[in-house]
């Protein structure tokens, strides 16, 4: 299968290559925010190419980014995250804060949400607090939902009046503004036992500016303006059609040919080719995702014991040397067209982002450190210490060209250091299954270096706790629970993480996160390669795209318009 896939991918890129750089440089370009002063036009249809097929739009089940991209026009939450990383009320009048809607009583917490008056579902029925309660109930009753994060911490929801819902949490849950990111219409699905058999998967009724009017499997999804939207005539476009295409290369070809107005998701390495095209704009948004290399501090073996020590990576001097020998800027300039920034921590954006700088590239310092630490070069140029040879493996997802090239750079750099690096890549279904039983090497501890990307939420509490607290090291004894893949164990780090979870005060949380992430960096267990960009592209006649790193580019569909 892998070979066939490769053949097809190679073949599809052939198509794209054939279309070639048909226009001279200039005219195109990259925008980071395309705010425009021209008067918007009303009406028209925009076509956006998507190269993955949304299997469902249902927020309870969906697990694809592309499903969020399409669903953005339809689904709204109680609150949303603005581009500046602050919350604001979406369906709710405002976001409750401590003392202003949020009350803490011992270990428990209550959040009082008030809906904006007069909001209707796209079918014309009113949105009430009963829908909030119903959403929570359904999320807890259905075993197939994607994540119950937050919902499982709720004890009860009171609905004193149709516009007020009091959400009672069992414990302090600081990420409550994130919790209700979409509401389920009670009046439609109250009597449906199995949501997976309803049309909610394809034509879900929401409160957003658009509604799904046509879902043709594998072909296209048509959104039309929702005349019951709470802001009258807010939408400029009448229709937005998401067109399925087989690959990003085909999407690029169609964008260049003018068959579509925009496309979802380009790779950093594809940007340059598209930017050259006149009439096309590349929108490179910052994204919370950070590409990293995690170093295993425990023994590299299946079902590794958290108490074990990696013979090579167990030495912090070795870990420091690997970081110092990783030329982040060179990788960015050479392989990513200089379009991204070097990473410094797992939280790159938002109110919680710390001002941290991870040590820069310095090969001499790396060599000195290894010399001092007693790692002696053998006849083959590879260092060893106390019988442990500095021979390591690096693992990433197969078929990702950028990552495979980065591996080649690292092999050379580390070789100069006296460290042997061998590639041991795996398909993403194996590498990223996050499942102990499916054999995810990160869970099982069977890796040396592992490269992948991951992003925290706007409140990084969940990420920081699951990934860096020592209680979350997966091992056979706890049935593989936790995502602390580097097996880092540090009492101060644990305490800082615990502190962040014990308070609702944003400033204090930020301080605790900054402390935790500083300690994490001082352990030298993760190399933050670069802050990934979220790249989409559109033709110049489609206007009104605005950057929001916390949402997909479709977040403000209602503000898009077409200009001749």
């Amino acid at each position: 299968m892998g070979k066939k896939l490769f053949v097809i991918l190679a073949a599809v890129s052939l198509v794209a290559a054939a279309c070639g750089p048909s226009a001279p440089a200039g005219g195109g370009g990259t925008t980071t925010a395309s705010a425009t002063s021209e008067a918007p036009l009303r009406g028209g249809t925009a076509i956006i190419a998507i190269w993955q097929e949304p299997t469902t739009l249902n927020p309870l089940y969906r697990n694809q980014t592309v499903a969020t991209v399409v669903g953005n026009g339809v689904i709204e939450g109680l609150a949303r995250t603005r581009a500046d990383g602050q919350y604001e009320g979406e369906l709710a009048k405002s976001v409750p804060t401590l003392g202003n809607g949020v009350t803490v009583d011992g270990p428990k917490m209550e959040v009082r949400w008030e809906l904006k008056p007069g909001i209707k579902w796209s079918d014309g029925n009113p949105v009430t607090s009963a829908d909030i309660k119903f959403t929570w109930e359904r999320w807890m009753a259905d075993a197939k939902v994607n994540t119950r994060d937050g919902f499982s911490d709720i004890e009860a929801i009171d609905t004193p009046d149709p516009l007020t819902a009091i959400v009672k949490y069992k414990a302090i849950f600081p990420r409550y503004p994130d919790n209700f990111s979409g509401l389920l219409p009670k009046h439609l699905y109250e009597k449906e036992a199995d949501l997976s058999k309803t049309d909610y998967n394809r034509k879900h009724v929401g409160t957003g500016p658009y509604k799904v009017t046509d879902f043709r499997v594998g072909e296209s999804i048509t959104l039309e303006r929702n005349d019951n939207y709470r802001i009258k005539d807010k939408q400029y476009l009448d229709k937005i059609i998401f067109k399925n295409v087989p690959s990003s290369q085909v999407a690029i070809a169609q964008l260049k040919a003018g068959e579509v107005h925009g496309m979802w998701n380009l790779l950093e390495s594809e940007m340059v080719e598209v930017e050259r095209e006149a009439g096309v704009r590349v929108q490179a948004d910052r994204s919370p995702s950070v590409e990293r290399i995690e170093l295993n501090t425990a023994m590299n073996k299946d079902q590794t014991e958290p108490t074990s020590t990696h013979p090579v990576l167990g030495d912090i001097e070795m870990r420091k040397a690997l970081l110092w020998a990783t030329p982040k800027q060179q990788i960015i300039d050479r392989l990513l067209a200089g379009k991204v920034k070097p990473g410094n921590s797992p939280v790159s954006l938002g109110w919680a982002a710390p001002t941290l700088t991870q040590d820069a590239y310095d090969q001499k310092k790396a060599i000195d450190a290894l010399d001092k630490a007693g790692w002696v070069k053998g006849a083959d140029g590879i260092r060893s210490k106390a019988g442990a040879r500095a021979a390591l493996t690096i693992t990433t997802t197969t078929g990702n060209q950028t990552r495979e090239r980065i591996e080649q750079v690292l092999i050379d750099e580390y070789k100069a250091l006296g460290v042997e690096l061998k590639i041991q890549n795996m398909p993403s279904a194996t590498l990223l299954s996050a499942s102990w039983s499916a054999g995810d090497p990160r869970k099982r501890g069977s890796f040396d270096l592992i490269m992948y990307g991951s992003s925290p939420g706007i409140d990084p509490g969940s990420t920081v706790t699951q990934r860096y607290h020592s209680k979350n090291i997966p091992h056979a004894g706890n049935n593989g629970v936790g995502q602390n893949y580097t097996r880092v164990k540090n009492a101060e780090l644990d305490k800082a993480v615990d502190d962040s979870n014990a308070t609702l005060d944003q400033a204090k949380r930020k301080e605790a996160y900054a402390k935790a992430l500083k300690i994490l960096n001082d352990q030298y267990v993760i190399i933050w390669l670069y802050d990934r960009a979220d790249i989409d592209a559109h033709r110049v006649e489609l206007r009104g795209w605005v950057e929001n790193p916390w949402a997909e580019f479709t977040d403000n569909m209602e503000e898009w318009f077409l200009k001749k």
Binding site: I8, A11, V15, R148, V250, S433, A434, S462, Q466
Partner: protein, 317 residues
């Protein structure tokens, strides 16, 4: 004949069970699993992972997973897709029309072209027509579909702009026969050209062999028209190899054309299978494999029954 068919059908049951066990074992032997899809969600917890693995039955021993699947499958509950949670039967039946639409057109085009061409090349052996067709069919036979498809896209789609680059219809537009046909041309050409090559070769070879048989000389000696000799007497016998091939190709009508559907972005069964395979979506894969294997067994039976019709000397008991 009736008893023969019944016996063959009964024999098919253990065969299909065996196929399903092997397919299941192979799918499960592939490392990884469907949960990789949740990796991107920062709020996805280990608790969620366990709940989902339990809901999908992934936490059970392999043999139990199979027994659970089979017992539900037999009563018509084919399970739910791991990606999106929809019933497998629904996913299959909403794709099936698109695939049948493509594959039936291809199948008919292939038969309509290759039968007359095959007969003509055999009756006019060594003519310029025969040489031209022989050359062309060899060319198409040795062309991989993915390559041919891409060439057609590049030439007719990108350069000449005669046909769309892919898809089944212009998105969002009302139904329009012309638009549908335009989208159909390139994928049909890709699939048909290769298959026409193979069918024509089969028919030509067996026709040539049959045309030299004694009974045809007798038929001609009786004073029958050459047309009658070729079409009524020769073709019926010469068609047996072609019938075998054509009958065994029938399951492909359902399974779709994996590579071609992928290249042309055709929303059919081939792409459903492909996507399910990349997502480790076992219930969907098992559903498609089960139907396909049943169809292959039936197609074999159909081929055998057709032999009896075409050649009365073949008898079944």
């Amino acid at each position: 004949m009736g008893r023969y068919v019944a016996r063959r059908l009964v024999q098919a049951i253990p065969l299909l069970l065996g196929i399903s066990i092997i397919s299941f074992a192979i799918l499960k032997a592939v490392p990884g699993g469907p949960t990789a899809a949740y990796e991107g969600n920062p709020n996805f917890t280990d608790e969620d992972l366990r709940r989902l693995e339990a809901a999908f039955g992934l936490d059970q021993p392999l043999h139990l997973q199979y027994v659970n699947w089979l017992s539900r499958f037999l009563v018509g509950d084919w399970g739910y897709s791991y990606s999106g949670g929809q019933p497998v039967l629904q996913l299959i039946f909403e794709r099936l029309p698109n695939t049948l639409y493509l594959t039936l057109v291809v199948y008919l085009t292939v038969l309509l072209i290759s039968i007359p061409v095959g007969i003509l090349t055999a009756t006019k052996q060594y003519s310029w027509f025969d040489h031209a067709v022989t050359g062309a069919t060899f060319g198409f036979l040795s062309t991989p579909t993915f390559w041919l498809g891409l060439l057609l896209i590049i030439f007719f789609g990108l350069q000449l702009r005669l046909f769309p680059l892919g898809g089944i219809a212009t998105p969002g537009a009302e139904f329009d026969l012309g638009d549908r046909l335009k989208h159909l041309v390139l994928p049909v050409a890709t699939l048909a050209l290769v298959q026409i090559g193979s069918y024509t070769r089969f028919l030509r070879a067996s026709m040539l062999e049959t045309l030299n048989q004694d009974y045809l000389r007798t038929a001609r000696a009786k004073g029958l028209l050459e047309r009658t000799v070729v079409l009524r007497h020769a073709l019926k016998n010469a068609a047996i190899p072609l019938v075998t091939v054509a009958a065994l190709d029938l399951p492909d009508l359902f399974a779709g054309a994996l590579v071609t559907e992928q290249i042309f972005g055709w929303p059919g069964m081939g792409r459903l299978f492909w996507d399910a395979a990349t997502r480790s979506d076992y219930p969907v894969l098992m559903g498609i494999l089960a139907i396909t294997s049943a169809l292959i067994v039936l197609a074999n039976l159909l081929a055998d029954v057709l032999y009896g019709y075409l050649d009365p000397r073949i008898r079944y008991s």
